[in-house]
């Protein structure tokens, strides 16, 4: 049972990472910087709980703010470029952040041990959960509460005028600009919201893995971050969740018994999924069909 609870934790945290990229993708931007914001959140939250002994909630709040501000600061210069240039710019930023943590050392003496990030060797003993008696189930509930809050906020945002504006920018930037929308502000806002979500996700990630190091926040994680919403579809937030379950739950954990074949199948199944559902698992057509199926009975009874 503990294994499934642990797997659900992984899915929850990766959902947060995927949702951070979802926000940015809504405005038509492809960002490979989400892993960097995730890393900032992870290190900030871990430093606050381990070195400064803060409560986890406060630490996550600060990590969200710091990641959000970082995303905002990056958004202004980075979003002046578009398309592939933006991909390269955000990738470069992601690598810069990773290399910063690769060289970042900030340790204090705690008894016989030195604690804190130690460059390439990473940051160990981030044991807030076990040291405060949180069971695997408690951690799971906390993670999914965070996921639920973030998904609810994004769902509300999507239904609001702000969401319509973001989608308008994503659909046709020129048309949006022509109709008076401040495109730069919208893109920076989306990047900032994405940064906040990645900061929360990164903070939780640091605490459930108990050890973080620069390698974990490289290009592969950045690729996963944008793969989740692209594979899941951008019609609503649940697509990202579905994609995370598919990748983390099925491709990575579900196929582990296949041994060496798992890695070969991993790529092949993603290609297959993209071919079968080119607009994502939950595209607009799929959502409409689901609605028809779910509400057909009610319409019939009302007639």
């Amino acid at each position: 049972m503990d294994f499934y609870l642990g797997l659900a934790q992984v899915i929850g945290v990766h959902t947060l990472l995927g949702l951070s990229a979802y926000c940015v993708l809504l405005t038509g931007q492809v960002s490979l910087a989400q892993a960097a914001f995730f890393a900032v959140g992870a290190y900030v939250a871990a430093i606050l709980t381990v070195i400064f002994k803060w409560h986890l909630f406060a630490a996550l709040g600060v990590s969200a703010v710091v990641s959000g501000l970082t995303a905002c600061a990056v958004g202004f210069p980075a979003l002046r470029v578009k398309g592939l240039m933006l991909v390269v710019a955000t990738l470069a930023f992601g690598e810069a952040v990773r290399l910063f943590f690769f060289n970042f050392t900030y340790q204090i003496q705690a008894g016989e041990l030195k604690i804190g990030p130690h460059g390439a060797e990473g940051f160990r003993q981030i044991r807030y959960f076990p040291e405060h008696g949180w069971s695997t189930f408690d951690v799971l509930m906390f993670i999914w509460l965070m996921v639920a809050i973030v998904m609810a906020c994004l769902w509300w945002l999507d239904q609001s005028r702000a969401g319509a504006v973001m989608r308008a920018v994503g659909e046709d930037e020129v048309a949006a600009h022509s109709s008076g929308i401040n495109v730069t502000a919208v893109k920076v806002l989306a990047m900032t919201i994405g940064g906040v979500i990645a900061g929360i996700g990164g903070g939780i990630f640091a605490h459930y893995t108990t050890h973080i190091e620069h390698v974990q926040f490289g290009v592969i994680l950045a690729t996963f971050a944008i793969a989740y919403p692209i594979l899941g579809g951008l019609s609503n937030v649940f697509g990202t969740l579905l994609a995370v379950i598919f990748i983390q739950g099925f491709l990575i954990e579900g196929l582990r018994f296949l041994g060496d074949w798992r890695n070969l199948l991993f790529g092949a199944l993603i290609v297959l999924a993209m071919n079968l559902r080119p607009r994502g698992f939950l595209d607009a057509g799929g959502v409409a069909s689901l609605k028809r199926m779910l509400f057909a009975g009610k319409e019939g009874s009302g007639a």
Partner: protein, 398 residues
Amino acid sequence: MRIVNVAAAALLAGTMTGLSGGALAQERTVKITGFGAKSGVVRVFGVNSEAAMKAAAEEINKAGGVTLGDGAKAKLSVEFLDDRCNAEEGISVIRRIASSDAFVAVGPTCSNVAESLFGILQKKVGDTSDSGLQFPVFADVAAKGGLAAISEWAFRNVPSELEMYKSLFAWLKREHPNLKTIYGGVEKDFAHSNATYGVMKKQAEENGFQLLGTGEWLLNDTNFSTQVREMRRTNPEIVAISAHPFTTCGVLREMDRQGVKPKLLIGLTSSSSIETLQGCAKQAEGIIIPTSFAPVTPEAKAAAENVSKQGGSMDLHSAAAYEIMFILKDVIESQKIMAKPDTVQADRTKMRQGLAALKETKGLLGSVGRTNDREAIKPYLYVHAKDGSWQVLHKPSS
């Protein structure tokens, strides 16, 4: 008469069924799960560990298997899971193993995975305020110093690199008093090689060698021309490379290409393997590496052959996995582990107690000491690459 025959047949059938049931009860199997990297550039370590564990299990089974706490004999079987050298996957793997009837796990390969998964274990045994996982893990490969200190449920059978390089540099100072300068190279993004470079550098300086500089590269790098050019500029007498076989060979080939010929080469423990010889035997000629395994005893030679039959090769890491299987057998027997579904947590506690109580174990090169912080003190020797094979250069403990 017919009724008597039927009754006799039924009795016989019942007896046979009972016997076969009893026999089945006697023929139990205990699964030992290993885990580590079987993907990516460090894949070979996982492959070798799995082969070593299987070879050891086969040896144990040939000798009658293991005696469980209820007196029943059991065969050992081995399952090996891939964690892709990824901390998150390592945690998932250990949770998966801990959710089964397993009472111990052997692994992982990578020190960064060990850091994370030792972190989710309970730090101090009996600490009710610590909700960490109560499951013994015995590491065979993850070699970064001091990892077992993270949790009292963590054990390692890896050599102390601090002791090995301390001894090696002191020996170099004695044997090569004319060599004064050294240049270091480090695979910077890998926890083990990076930490060990710190050890090498400190020991070199403490023994009076002058460090001329350090070249840095990453595990996935394939081009080393800049680092080697800088090395050539300083013209060192000794080059010490703290990197795994893949990049060690890359650097050695680049040194060959640029004509960098130091008087002495020193390598990382993990590079004293067949992969280095397969990748760059010519360029690695003469490289000196301290290691806790070489086929120099009859047991070590036999073990190396057995591992080879299982599709792996024996080096200091897979030798540790091989030894661990025999240690586990002894602990299962001494602690009277039952290996039954209803005794899982008790068996885990017994296994941890048994492992923690060990003061000495039998290793392929001789006795292995055990420290209070659950680490091993392994005998070691220096090997050097000569004519395409690893040959013993010096036995410091002898």
